[in-house]
Amino acid sequence: MKVYEESGCFDPHSITDCPDLIGLPGATNCPNSLEDSLNLSSYNHHHEDVSAAAAVDMEGHQHYLLDNTATTTTTTNNNNNNANSHLIPYLTQELSYDQSNWETFNMVPSSSSPEAAAAAVANGGYTPTPDLLSLFHLPRCSFLPNSSISFETTPGSPSVVYDPLFHLNLPPQPPVFRELLQSLPHGYTVPADDKDAAGVGGLYHDGDNGIIEFTRDISMAGRTKDRDKAGKTTKHFATEKERRVHLNDKFQALKTMVPSPTKIDRASIVEGAINYIKELLRTVRELKILVDKKRCGQDRSKRLKTEDAASAADAGDVGCKPLGDPDQCYNTSLRSSWLQRKSKDSEVDVRIIDDEVTIKLVQRKKINCLLFVSRLLDELQLDLHHVAGGNIGDYYSFLFNTKIYEGSSVYASAIANKLIDVVDRQYAAALPTSSNSL
């Protein structure tokens, strides 16, 4: 984390952290509106940079931000998330046209930096606007280490290039709010018109569907965007909803690929994916080692056969291996692997170090799983050395220490998958009338 803080780089964990930090319901919790997450009374803005995300999108759109922001510097993502959790409620409250809060809101940037404060005072409120922009973009943004951009605030004209909400026929508002609304990502008005979690999450998460896209929308004055992605040439969305749905589909796809059942919320899906990828990497590494070992062994035995054939002619000793094996493969890499599999009623943990396999099994008590497990272990050519376990409350819990028989090449994921499979099947078959089986 330290490195991360210093360089301000993107922290993949922040994806999962963000929703919690933000306090926005969209990501994990209650699907209802942002208003639920308002806790303005406890607001305290304790760090400088709020609109660091603006740094991400510097390319062509600075001037849009320039006019409305104050000095920004880059800080860590987490800090900004904390800021966001407080500022977004401010934002929504602003949209309820509460003038007094708006002024409170004005104080926000003032605590962030002196220049911002001065600007805020001077502009009478234009300065916070880019901060709001950043709010929507922060969760996935990173901050380029060397970019501390200071924006000039031009008092007076906001010089907004394009008013995306112009056509929405919003009720007349003070110009300040106009800017505020204009600064919203395209298509968003008052939150909480989306009832589903994804919706609100979309409000939040899709805001980052590019600072780039958003500002590009502004400049292109259109609702569709073309984007080049690996494997897809263009993606057109007529509505925000489509975009959200599309993103949701992707999350669902990811969820189906991961073997363990997870909760439906996005953070868990991503976490499950992370763990699964790590597990796959371990498995692949393990398999590579096994294949290498096998290949080494085969080569050696092939060589031995030819040598034996040669030496048999001399009535030599066929049985013993030549010690000075010239091409002996020094495969000293220690194979190690670890897997976990969970199902509704059972949990399996398989760890392999070299030739020792340790299996932990926890199953809700219904049938005596020991027998099936033991049979499977025999099948897999695992030599049982220790077994310990028994009945704990509602569960059976067992620990098996086994050794792999020489020459067999079972690997961790095979063991774990088969085990959980067997156990689940037996479980399901055992008591069809029990409510548990559903």
Partner: protein
């Protein structure tokens, strides 16, 4: 990346063997070498840092959808790789006929080991508290013997409570607390006899064939 860096650094710092007092004779030379070495190090470091910074920036620029897409692609790729590897492993397994001999030898050794250590076979069934039985078995360790024992327990209608198995010097110790249905003195005796019989039958073969029946 760190390892490569370290490797290159070590290469650059490789000490040239010099007879006599190290470092004194070729003083001037060493200075120049050090300069080149350190310049090179700096350049290397800078280059690597530049690359890693840019990669990080690239990753940061990806938006959510792209990240998820890439994750999906990567997972598929990894799954395919692991499937291919496991298939390859299976093929190699099929083509080689190793292992059978070793297992047989192992079994013969087990019996010898036990005898050497003076471990005696034992079957003890004790009734503790109502329907609960404590079963203790010491026997020669064989492949599949544990399975057979558990099958016996099931056959007798026992529900296994706390079960422990330990192996040592070719012998296996099973200690299990089981819950029976209608336990009385006769039952205890019969259980003991059955188990003793089982162990005797297992003794003969080198491996306990697991046909699922008793």
């Amino acid at each position: 990346m760190d390892m490569e860096f370290l490797g290159s650094e070590l290469n650059e710092l490789s000490i040239r063997p010099s007879r006599g007092r190290p470092g004194r004779r070729r003083q001037g030379n060493n200075d120049d070498d050090d300069n080149f070495v350190s310049k090179n190090l700096h350049a290397e470091r800078k280059r690597r840092k530049k690359l890693s910074d840019r990669l990080l920036t690239l990753r940061s620029l990806m938006n959510k959808a792209t990240i998820i897409d890439d994750a999906i692609t990567y997972i598929r790729e990894l799954q395919k790789t692991s499937e291919d590897l496991s298939e390859e492993l299976l093929e190699m397994e099929a083509s080689s006929e190793d292992g059978g001999k070793q297992m047989e030898m192992g079994a013969a050794d087990a019996a010898d080991e036990m005898r050497e250590c003076g471990i005696k076979e034992e079957v003890k069934v004790t009734n503790i508290d109502g329907n609960k039985l404590l079963i203790k078995i010491v026997m020669e360790k064989k492949r599949g013997c544990f399975t057979k024992l558990i099958e016996a327990m099931n056959f007798l209608g026992f529900e296994l409570g706390e079960t422990n198995v330990t192996t040592f010097k070719g012998a296996m110790l099973l200690s299990s607390c089981v819950l029976g249905k209608f336990v009385d003195a006769l039952m205890v005796e019969q259980t003991e006899e059955l188990l003793i019989e089982m162990i005797r039958s297992m003794k003969g073969s080198s491996e306990c064939a697991n046909d699922g029946s008793l």
